[in-house]
């Protein structure tokens, strides 16, 4: 067995976000130590989407990141890392395959439902089917789990893990598992860093009404109508859901903007590019603006500030959209220059 495949040597650490944390854990174990921010940026994780005709737990789909599984797919592709990903129709087959992989010494990533994981405190469990964790071993009927958002290694009974892997509903995991078949083939990260930034610029500046900057502007206009459309009570629930997606579910705050700013800072060092450092500072300030929006929204939900209206909240989102529009256009120009520089080397 190769050393990199030995789960006994797996080092657990806590991350802000589950998918980038799981991928960082797998890559670190495979011998490529990367920070969570680098993984998030290499995977082009930053996005914004407002899709009112798709409902998640009864609310319009609102997201500050790319689709589930996207970070794993893009990072492993960029780093030319051989991987296997599978979904299953039958739970028994999925669990048997997991046991077989663990016996072979693999660290296995799983997509699960947070709601069915007993080691997550009850107050934090909710119906979200795209939570990522790593399984590093098995003892009797219990699996040894490295959950990226939990501080220490933990255990999970087979029955519970199986239920979490086959939860139904939106983004149903269908037993999805993934693992690395070998270490990354790329050692020079610079082209992958530039590519990751280009992916984010493309997605944020895309000419589609529900995504990126246009998605933010769409939501800013739509939220002014939420009270009329949904009623006072449900409109507040919508706001609370938006705050949760922005500040809670492992985003690192500011809807992943702080994590992405940390990525730009690390990329600035690796690419010797001062412009990226300046953009990182600006994105941190934009993250603060998103947080101010969340603060106003929270006060609106709690009825603590009568000066906050859905119109004023929409204006705050518009302001963030305008700032991000300018930032990602500059980042796009910077990546073009960097790409030419790298080609010339």
């Amino acid at each position: 067995m190769s050393e990199w495949l030995a789960p006994n040597s797996f080092q657990h650490r806590q991350y802000a976000h589950c998918e980038s944390g799981a991928v960082a854990g797998l890559l670190n174990h495979a011998g490529l130590p990367l920070s969570e921010a680098l993984v998030f940026g290499l995977g082009g994780g930053l996005f914004f989407g407002y899709v009112p005709f798709v409902k998640l737990n009864g609310f319009p789909l609102m997201t500050y990141r790319c689709y589930p599984g996207g970070i794993f797919k893009r990072v492993t592709h960029s780093l030319r890392c051989p991987v296997v990903q599978k979904r299953y129709r039958h739970p028994q087959q999925a669990m048997a395959e997991l046991d077989r992989l663990l016996e072979q010494g693999h660290v296995v990533g799983l997509q699960t439902s947070v709601f069915w994981l007993p080691y997550i405190p009850a107050a934090l469990r909710f119906h979200f089917n795209a939570h990522n964790l790593l399984v590093i071993g098995k003892e009797g009927s219990r699996y040894r789990i490295s959950d990226p958002v939990v501080s220490d290694l933990t255990w999970c009974e087979e029955e519970d893990l199986c239920r979490a892997r086959f939860a139904r509903g939106a983004l149903a995991p269908k037993g999805r598992c993934y693992y690395l078949q070998g270490p990354p083939q790329v050692t020079d990260l610079r082209p992958a860093l530039v590519h990751g930034m280009q992916v984010v610029c493309r997605d944020m500046l895309a000419p589609i009404p529900v995504g990126g900057i246009r998605g933010m502007r769409f939501m800013a206009c739509a939220m002014e109508q939420w009270e009329q459309r949904y009623g006072v009570r449900k409109a507040r629930y919508c706001l609370a859901q938006l705050i949760r997606m922005q500040e809670e579910i492992g985003t690192g705050g500011g809807g992943f903007r702080f994590i992405y700013a940390a990525f730009l800072q690390e990329a600035a060092v690796q690419l010797h590019c001062e412009k990226l450092e300046a953009l990182s500072d600006r994105l941190t300030a934009i993250g603060d603006a998103w947080r101010e929006f969340a603060l106003s929204a929270a006060r609106c939900c709690k009825g603590r500030d009568e000066t906050v209206t859905y119109h004023s909240l929409g204006q705050q989102v518009l302001d963030c959209a305008n700032q991000e529009d300018a930032l990602f256009r500059e980042l796009r120009e910077t990546t073009r220059t960097l790409k030419h520089q790298l080609k010339g080397l």
């Binding site: 107050a123 809670e248 492992g250 690192g252 705050g253 994590i259 941190t284 603060l295």
Partner: protein, 88 residues
């Protein structure tokens, strides 16, 4: 280790920020949960957003990025330790 003065300051800041009007216990255990059903201050996740912004404005420390808010806002002690470690 954070001192009692910082704990008192933080409790006062939280009470003011989150408009807590209920009577509080005389002594708040720094190890008790800050947010959630077990919180002696009765705080929820929306209050957490207000606390994060208030702490940033008051102490100049940003809770974010790879410092998980969940971890920092676990207890009064973890919040106080984070402030002590990160303020200029």
């Amino acid at each position: 280790m954070p001192d009692a003065k910082l704990y008192d300051e933080l409790v006062a800041l939280i009470v003011d920020t989150c408009h807590i009007q209920e009577e509080l216990p005389d002594v708040i255990d720094p190890e008790s949960s800050l947010i959630g059903p077990d919180s002696p201050l009765g705080l929820d996740s929306l209050d957490a957003v207000e606390i994060v912004v208030a702490v940033q404005k008051h102490y100049g420390v940003r809770i974010g990025g790879e410092n998980t808010g969940r971890e920092v806002l676990d207890t009064l002690r973890s919040l106080a330790e984070f402030i002590n470690q990160n303020r200029a």
